[in-house]
Symmetry: D2
Subunit: 350 residues, 4 copies
């Protein structure tokens, strides 16, 4: 009954096989190898775009590096107040950008709205060089509360951003889950809707440590090659990240993995919604379920052996009892059912 | 009819005299001179405290340097969303601290409240090393909307901060105005209420370019000496900043200057409040008046030769017509009256 | 005939097995797992010391993070002019430390000497806050020219550093090769000789991507936990780095791998030394051979299918024809012999 | 007998008058005033060039800001090992640039040579993204050892730099002294010879605190406006820096001041050269004299009331007894003569 995080789980079998089978003889270091070229080529196919791709091993590195080329060191990056870059990276974007400012703003359902972004930006009129100029908008897809931006929502947000000279970054740590859930083409959920750079996650969805920074316009990549190197994020044995992506993208394996995680979350969410006293806080669109248990129940479930974290958010309407349950490519139906039984039991107790 | 900013005005006569009279022969550079020692000693007297003082020439430098020793590069600094460090320094604190994050929060009357700070911090539970740890609370006295924190308010805020391990920084660009307005002892409005470091402004109140970073606990000063040097803020001819402070503090000249500015603002505010259609937005406690004119009036007043800026704020309840009027040590009664006449006239026009 | 770099090669079999076998079920993320604890414990045993260990995936990250806690942002780090941190990390230490200065100094055989360091430091007398204060000494073991610091040399250098208040960092990307070559205890080549923090490399010697920052005094680790996180170097699936180290250190596998690489280098070096016209530039003590071929021969060997890089160094006595040949844990005797035959042949040609 | 530094002296009379007379009424802040426009215009005239000018109050700020737009954060700046940016700014360029690396190189007479720079750069072949790419060459005119680069020397150095894609920065803290000494047109000693940006000093030559960053090609100025602001170097009362430059440049006052300082240094140097046992170390071309006294004499002179510093340099051929004597616009003939008498007396003593 482990719903702690998708990153507590291991590596999907075909991806581990790819790593092992890549281990033959020597190959040029630092990404000069064939496997890296192949993995990049696969991404271009999947996204229907001649994009510029940089592989790194963590999502924090991907986000930080991407933002460091979208924003000058004195720029301002608009993001949701719940976003990973604001809440969970210990000042990573500030570090990679040498000082850019994050402007956290509220938004229901874990999502920014065009109206909300406009209102926020209106508070920062152009006054060079006094105010930190707004330089980028960062969206998270799927969001930190398990919801999904629709194509229209992304398009509208990107239009607002571009009209004011901001670039658009998408934190896609769970982009796979959003694609699997919506069935939309990856291109539709990203560059065709206006996204400039996507940090496309693999690690949370069955890779060992593999993230891709995808610049949909090559010129936007700027000097990220140098920035990745000096940040210690250029792997010498790059082919072992590439091999992960190669297997991940092969025959839609990534969607299969994400689809399973999503399905488990939906099952979990539907089950929880039917239990008296349990309150599902957001629509469960990907592999995250946010839920409020009756007082004391969360603790009892943990005593029963279940693993999950309380939900941390700066949001005003935060429910002190809110819990976050995450499913993964390896979460089993039986585990979900077992957990639901426990919840039912604990909620029925006096 | 110039109400643009207190920093549009020049240098108070006695301060300019002090600069001129300091100009005799040679003296040790970089603050090793007698005048610097004397100015520091005056500050210790005024603040009734053996404090550690560092002189710089701008408020941005003072704030940035002070915060850079209160916060690690991955720390989080809590501030009002209207604060100068958030809105007007082009990412200065982020630069000086090598990446600290500012957390802008709302608060009525331009002020933070203990409740508001607690609520904000509750959204950031201690999760090392994931979240940027809250490291400092920054208060502005007088505030960006012309109000004043009472001693009790400061004490309560400092108690909250210290209880959670945050240091307290006070941006005192207009600290003189707050002291002049309240009659409180400088110590009462700062360290006795819990403030750890005060950026004590001179420039906005009649100095040429003179700000003092005052660490009330010597050990908090840390390595600011090195940080000031590498930031290019250690003057070789330091005695010319010291001379300004020496004259500024002599016989309460600083309070005389600030008192005049405050009185002009009060006169202006009272006059405006009596004009139909004009709405004074905040209580006028120091030398800043925030006002909403009827549609089109602000433009007409500018055409009449008045100078003032629209009010820039990220706040939700922002009035699009809001204007900011600032008085200075040199603002004349006749100028205020002339302006009030113009406002009366323009508001009466159809 | 691939002598390009040790990082062109793959993963040693037992290490790959450990990665695969670690892939079972779920485990706490971010290093809270048992395998991470076990790997750290192994390092404590190997180094006979209750050390503080942080795992990362690249050597650049390890060096940058280690130095960022040894040096303030305005500090100065003394290093050899050939060192990896100076020549090959694209400003990594400067990035991680938010601006520390590297002072590259010369030294024969790729090594710094106590005399050389003293002479260099004497040019930087203590003048706070004007000069950047010397904060750390960085040594590379084995060196960038394939040589090894003796225990006495390290002790003497550390004594000089400590006497002047500098901490000592050791870049141990090829520390394994030095241990294998000398037979000295790891503790003797590091903390017992005075080293404060060792970046202990795995990647160049058969790991996939695994480096350990080892602080021999726990208090020196400072806030590196936060710095690693914000730099995107805290792996969520940390156990897959830990598994590498666990296997690497098991039954001296790391020394077996390094010993083979060293032996191949020695074989190569000895063979080359006997060929007329070939000049071996440094004593071959680990797995690097530096050699000067007669004019045109390097190009011919490359045409024959051999892979190796010209030697890049800022040193004054640089030989334009100098080449660097690196062997690895997978380099075969037959490959070395084949290469020697080619060299013999090409050198004999008119 | 004060030869400690030119920055121990005060403000030249006409410059102090300009500051006082600027003190009338109000003026737009942050450089929007007429005096700032006038001072910029004077610089364009003096340099015969439509340049882009930014005023700051210290030389360290000028150098740091200028270099921060010439070099990316991972770039490498080539400079003399004695240069102020390397030795005396506590890591300022590294701070302003967010991490650029300085490459200090040797050169006789305090000067870099084209040959020396070529040799240094040859040790850093283009290997993106591994090595920090060389981005700028920094020259100091007059040098830290009191010598002057000839127009030909500057031209040759700039040609080398530009051929390799480096921009050229000139630290002109004592540029006035070089112009006064050579009689060359300012343009000849700067942009016509290839210099891209000059940090033109006023403070050491009679200003209170006034330095100008002069970009000779407007497009090179980049975002320095934002960088100056966030570094706290945009003065609100900018006109008081502008007034200094206005007076400084009026009727060649700057050359008059520098000429006097140079003449005093020459007088001092010539006098010292005739005293047995005293060794003048460099040709005295500007206002700095480097000299080696017999053992113990320097101490005796200090006891006699003379003030001067030992010479600090990382150079190999450093003479432990070397002293630095600096003259200023206010140094008197009688003081020089008095000092020479003391030296004569002390050197004659047994």
């Amino acid at each position: 009954m482990n719903f702690a995080s998708d990153n507590w789980w291991g590596v999907a079998p075909k991806i581990m096989d790819a790593i092992s089978s890549e281990n033959n003889g020597s190959s040029p270091a630092y990404g000069g190898d064939d496997r890296t070229a192949k993995a990049k080529s696969r991404l271009s196919e999947v996204f229907e775009c001649e994009c510029e791709v940089f592989f790194v091993s963590t999502g924090g590195a991907a986000n930080g590096l991407a933002l460091s080329v979208l924003s000058p060191p004195y720029g301002m990056i608009v993001c949701h107040e719940d976003s990973h870059i604001q809440m969970d990276e210990c000042g990573g974007p500030e570090f990679f950008s040498s000082g850019a400012k994050l402007l956290p703003i509220r938004g229901d359902h874990g999502k920014l709205t065009a109206t909300g972004v406009i209102k926020a930006l209106d508070g920062f009129p152009h006054r060079p060089p006094h105010g930190a100029p707004a330089s980028a908008l960062s969206l998270t897809q799927g969001t930190e509360t398990g919801t999904i931006y629709s194509i229209d929502e992304i398009s509208e947000l990107c239009a607002v951003a571009h009209a004011r000279g901001l670039s658009v970054h998408m934190d896609g740590a769970r982009f796979a889950n959003a694609v699997a859930a919506t069935g939309a083409a990856p291109a539709e959920l990203s560059w065709r809707a206006g996204v400039d750079v996507l940090c496309f996650g693999g690690t949370k969805n069955g890779c060992l440590a593999a993230e891709a920074i995808i610049f949909f316009k090559r010129e936007l990549a700027g000097d990220v090659e140098f920035r990745r190197k000096r940040a210690g994020h250029l792997w010498s044995k790059m082919r072992f990240i590439a091999a992960q992506f190669d297997a991940y993208l092969d025959r839609e394996y990534w969607l299969e993995l994400a689809g399973h995680a999503n399905f488990m979350a939906k099952t979990l969410s539907d089950g929880l919604a039917q239990i008296d006293g349990v309150n599902v806080l957001f629509e469960t669109e990907i592999n995250e379920v946010f839920v409020s248990f009756p007082n004391g129940v969360a603790e009892k479930l943990r005593n029963d052996g279940a693993t999950f974290y309380p939900w941390v958010t700066p949001g005003v309407s935060r429910d002190a009892c809110a819990q976050r349950l995450i499913t993964s490519f390896q979460t089993s139906q039986s585990d979900v059912e077992k957990f639901l039984d426990h919840v039912q039991t604990q909620c029925n107790k006096p």
